[in-house]
């Protein structure tokens, strides 16, 4: 109980996992981001990586929203197109 309280007062369990592991995860995340892939990891701070990750995820969410809106319109109007779609998907 007291250990749980002291752990929560520390920054969310960082004492359990080392900084090195966190840096490793941050660099792995950085590899995925299109903005920061070219730069070397020692020039990009963790805060910057987190910021870019948030922006990128928001962008992807927006893209998915736009795509689902487009898909909903297309599904509404086309009917026989689905048969053609299934045929193309199966033939891949």
């Amino acid at each position: 109980m007291s250990s749980r309280r002291s752990r929560s007062r520390q920054s969310a369990g960082v004492s359990r996992t080392s900084d090195e592991q966190i840096n490793d995860l941050v660099s792995k995340l950085q590899e995925l981001l299109p903005e920061l892939r070219r730069r070397r990891s020692d020039k990009v701070s963790a805060g910057r990586v987190l910021q870019e990750t948030c922006n990128y995820i928001r962008n992807l969410h927006k893209e998915v929203d736009d795509l689902s809106e487009r898909l909903s319109e297309l599904l509404e109007t086309t009917d026989s197109a689905q048969a053609a779609m299934i045929r193309t998907l199966l033939s891949q």
Binding site: S8, R9, Q10, S11, A12, G13, V14, R16, T17, D19, Q21, I22, L25, V26, K28, L29, L32, L33, S45, A46, G47, L50, Q51, T53, C54, Y56, I57, R58, L60, H61, E63, V64, D65, L67, S68, E69, R70, L71, S72, E73, L74, L75, E76, T77, T78, S80, A81, Q82, A84, M85, I86, T88, L89, Q92
Partner: protein
Amino acid sequence: MASTLVSNPVTNSDRARESSKRRKKKKLLATRDESQNPNAAHGSTQWKSDPQQQVYSSKLLQALRQLRISSSPTAPRRSRAVREVADRVLAVTAKGKTRWSRAILTNRLKLKFMKNKRRSPAASAAGDRLKKPRVSISRLKSKNLPAVQRKARVLGRLVPGCRKEPLPVILEEATDYIAALEMQVRAMSALAELLSGSGPSGSTVTPLGSNRPPPS
């Protein structure tokens, strides 16, 4: 012959239970080892591979066809429904290995029983509880700065199911979630292209024959 048939099930079941236990232990150890290796194909989902995208596309197609029959006529509700279906299929394709996929799937169940107003006060209370202790940390390591913590919390809110998780968990979930989202975008745009491309072309098959110039 009859005696062996009778005795075999008893011994076979014991042996089967033991061997399945051993197999389960081996599989557990194997997945634990493989998940530590970042390039493992079994521990984490390979979102960039084509088969994975095809699995997602076919499941999405099935789900969308079911949705089409029972959809509401208003436009914003329709796109929201498509988005929810796409997210649900994405979570199913992830096979529940990650927190965000499990959170998406359980959220669908929760929303069916609980109203929206019950969720928002709980969420804001959790946010207040999380914001307060972060400022009092005085250690000057880079990860414990309030700015980094704040961004980590924002990221935790963006990735489903990671609001109360510590930083390393959030980073790991975000890595998988971004790859999954990218695949989702690729699959949905391919689907949209197919739908918009095959729609008009399907109806213009006959006029094409007449429009072709005669060979001379």
